[in-house]
């Protein structure tokens, strides 16, 4: 088992290096905001240009005249126009191809024993662009590329965790621990229009069938006949109150059949078929509308972006000073920990080995160090900027600290250099 994992890991490492040779990062601003990754099998193939986006970007670049603007400037520009400009979201979508690729790349390397290809990871993650843009907040100087790479990575990791959980659960264990939202989706996907009686049945099942101590919750057994009776009884008592559709009492035999059906539906829904590796993300069918691009509002929008961009840069410089000072004043073990995590990018398990501590202690120590850094920023901003320290704002600042630490310890994303 162990040997198998190791050899899989070596295979992955080799394979990953092959991809590295073929992945070319985009350098032209035009391409960065108008092209999409195409995979062949599980490997990067080429950048495909979306003509309409290319023209739109060209148009914007021309308006700038001789002023060469940075990539970050354009990110902020499109982000700010997200709700107004018809193509803004698509430009960002194109921009986010690379962080998404590197997130998938890093995870396929970091968790090599998991059955998950780079292209699978990319597909899973890229579907979350909308969510990531909603979660992103540029106000405190957060860099979209860094933010998105982490957020994409989180999407993939979450997916991996769930998949593993699903694979090792019995049908009944799965049925008990599926969310109501997913159960409803599974029913709709299977073709049931009316889901409420199934959901009531499921709630009764969950109420009655809890694991016994010493029995695994994942490997939950099929309901016993006593339990089936109890579920039926409960269902028949609750259906008058909870169902807004005409319903009849359920018999135990029928109930057994329906529950088994439910368990099968959930299993089938949650076990993914192989995802197709083609590119569904960008639809260029609106091509003919090209000439109706709004052009007159852009100079003003660009001016506003210039201001916002300058503001962001100032804030970043200040943060940089505060954090650098704070880090220098940390004790040696804390500094070592930060280096192991942010510079050498070790997993918590590896760090635990390295420092001869428990894995959970790594997490606690890291959290503590980051809390210290956060407090230094808060005290500074309270004195100089009078920024309110609401919980949600703090979370944003904490994100920024995380990004800052990444940059501080690994100035260029190392993947790009590989």
């Amino acid at each position: 088992m162990k040997l198998k994992a190791v050899s899989a890991w070596i295979w992955q490492q080799t394979a990953v290096q092959l991809y590295d040779l073929t992945m070319r990062s985009r350098t032209e601003t035009l391409a960065t905001f108008s092209t999409f990754i195409q995979f062949t099998g599980d490997r990067f193939d080429t950048w495909v240009s979306a003509p309409r986006l290319a023209r739109s970007m060209q148009h914007q670049l021309l308006q700038q005249g001789d002023n060469e603007r940075s990539e970050k400037f354009w990110v902020l520009h499109w982000y700010r126009l997200r709700r107004q400009h018809p193509d803004a979201e698509q430009h960002l979508w194109a921009y986010l191809q690379e962080p998404c690729y590197w997130a998938a790349h890093r995870i396929s390397r970091r968790f090599p024993m998991v059955q998950y290809s780079l292209a699978d990871g990319f597909q899973t993650a890229i579907a979350n662009v909308d969510r990531i843009l909603n979660g992103y907040n540029p106000d405190y100087g957060s860099d979209l590329k860094v933010y998105a790479r982490r957020a994409f990575g989180n999407c993939i990791r979450d997916q991996l965790r769930q998949q593993q959980e699903i694979n090792i659960s019995s049908d009944w264990g799965l049925l008990r621990r599926v969310s109501q939202t997913q159960l409803r989706k599974a029913l709709l996907a299977t073709g049931f229009v009316q889901t409420s009686s199934f959901i009531l049945l499921w709630r009764c099942f969950r109420h009655v069938c809890t694991p016994e101590l010493g029995q695994s919750a994942r490997g939950l057994f099929a309901p016993s006949s006593d339990q089936l009776d109890a579920i039926a009884q409960r269902y028949n008592r609750l259906r008058h109150r909870d169902l807004d559709i005409p319903s009849v009492d359920i018999k135990t035999e029928q109930l057994a059949v329906e529950l088994t059906q439910l368990a099968t539906i959930v299993r089938a829904y949650l076990t993914p078929t192989v995802t197709s590796l083609n590119q569904p993300q960008y639809d260029d069918s609106g091509e003919e509308q090209l000439d109706t691009l709004p052009t007159d509002d852009t100079p003003m929008a660009q001016l506003l972006t210039v201001e916002a961009y300058a503001e962001q840069q100032r804030w970043m410089q200040q943060i940089d000073t505060v954090l650098s000072n704070k880090i220098n004043s940390l004790d040696v073990p804390s500094q070592t920990l930060l280096r192991l995590y942010y510079q050498q990018k070790l997993t918590q398990i590896d760090i635990a080995h390295h420092l001869s501590i428990q894995q959970y202690q790594v997490s606690r120590k890291l959290t503590r160090v980051r809390r210290q850094l956060l407090l230094s920023i808060i005290n500074w901003s309270k004195e100089t900027l009078h920024i309110s320290a609401e919980a949600t704002v703090l979370a944003n600042v904490s994100d920024v600290i995380h990004e800052w630490l990444q940059r501080h310890y690994a100035p260029e994303p190392p993947e790009v250099l590989e």
Partner: protein, 377 residues
């Protein structure tokens, strides 16, 4: 994007299984309520430890030490940290994509919290992962209300998932304002009749309109009554005991005690009794379980000679002021009452005689925490 592998900003707490705790909850007949009580007891232990280690300050459980009266109907683990109320919602749901907070923790002024934490329970791996939290204000603004299950649902993307910022804010933040809620007044008589009807209903929290249920649930004493009533079915029957049939939670003396019988029981509880039975009693206000003991002699004409005693379970003395009373079930007429002093190792209702088939009620109370046991002599 909720719960992650190897994310140091989401604390993972050890959640060791506790067979003794599982056994202790054997008296809860409803499987979901028993499971919930068990998980909440484990979770409470783990969280207390985590808070203490992480913030060098021990939180206290709230509103009572182990609120079984809450856990038997509603999800939610409550902690008081300094002056901050924190509600932790435990969930075993695999996709962990949203935080579901029962309405009780949001709309009831005396139960709403400053912070809500989403926790993922994995009993197989014996761990508890905290994967997000939200201040009250954010829950109010961003959540959607699920009318069927009376809960507020907040998407994972609206939760803060970085615990390094947790509790950094409150030092600087004003406590969240509580929303005025629309609860109706219930008279004691009305409340008690409602409690009767709820005690045996599945999902009692969903039976009444929330304006009534909220009033009932906010009141600690009514909550206790509902809990006690729903646990006490049917009345304990001494006739059954004679045939070796024991109701939920009741056990003959031999099996209640690990050793044949410890000296302190032998001195007082044995004697000539033909039958001695006991049950562990939980009072929120007591730090330890209590042991309610019945010793019954059967005399001529099936008349019973009954002695009722109350012992501490683990500790050596009873909590002072704990009260033991005997009432007539039908009328509630008080027959006899005794109260523990500062150093009592047990208290008892003096032996009394009665005919078979008499309906009686034992009432145990410490402060506002009450437990009642109905029995038929």
């Amino acid at each position: 994007m909720s719960l992650l592998f190897d994310n140091p900003m989401q604390p993972v707490l050890a959640l060791p299984a506790d067979p003794a705790c599982w056994q202790r909850s054997a008296f809860i007949s409803d499987p979901a309520a028993r499971w919930r009580s068990y998980l909440h007891q484990l979770g409470l232990k783990a969280l207390m430890l985590w808070f203490e280690e992480e913030f060098d300050h021990t939180p206290s459980p709230w509103p009572t030490v182990e609120p079984f009266d809450i856990w038997h109907v509603v999800d939610g683990l409550t902690l008081l940290f300094g002056n901050l109320r924190i509600v932790v919602i435990l969930s075993e749901t695999i996709d962990a994509a949203e935080l579901n907070v029962p309405q009780e923790w949001v709309d009831l002024p005396n139960l709403s919290a400053d912070y809500y934490i989403a926790a993922y329970v994995d009993v197989d791996e014996q761990r508890l992962a905290l994967w997000g939290y939200t201040p009250y204000s954010q829950l109010q603004e961003r959540s959607t209300y699920d009318a069927l299950e009376r809960k507020y649902c907040l998407d994972d993307s609206d939760l803060i998932q970085d615990f390094s910022a947790f509790l950094v804010a409150p030092k600087l933040e004003q406590p969240a304002a509580k929303s005025p809620s629309q609860l109706v007044h219930l008279s004691t008589a009305h409340a008690e009749s409602v409690i009767q009807s709820l005690a045996y209903a599945p999902e009692p929290r969903l039976v009444l309109p929330f304006s009534q249920w909220g009033t009932l649930f906010s009141n600690g004493q009514w909550r206790q009554q509902l809990y006690q009533l729903s646990q006490n079915t049917p009345p304990v029957s001494i006739e059954n005991w004679l045939e070796n049939i024991f109701e939920q939670g009741w056990q003959p003396l031999e099996s209640l005690l690990p050793q044949p019988s410890t000296p302190r029981f032998r001195s007082s509880a044995s004697g000539t009794a033909v039958l001695t039975c006991g049950k562990k009693i939980f009072l929120n206000t007591a730090s330890d379980d209590l042991l309610l003991m019945f010793s019954v002699d059967i005399e001529a004409n099936k008349r019973r000679n009954i002695r009722i005693q109350l012992y501490p379970s683990g500790e050596t003395i009873l909590p002072s002021n704990v009260m033991l009373a005997l009432e007539l079930s039908e009328t509630g007429e008080l027959l006899k009452t005794v109260k523990a002093g500062e150093h009592d190792d047990y208290i008892q209702i003096p032996p009394f005689r009665c005919s078979a088939g008499q309906r009686l009620r034992v009432h145990i109370q410490l402060a506002d925490s009450i437990c009642q046991e109905d029995f038929i002599s």
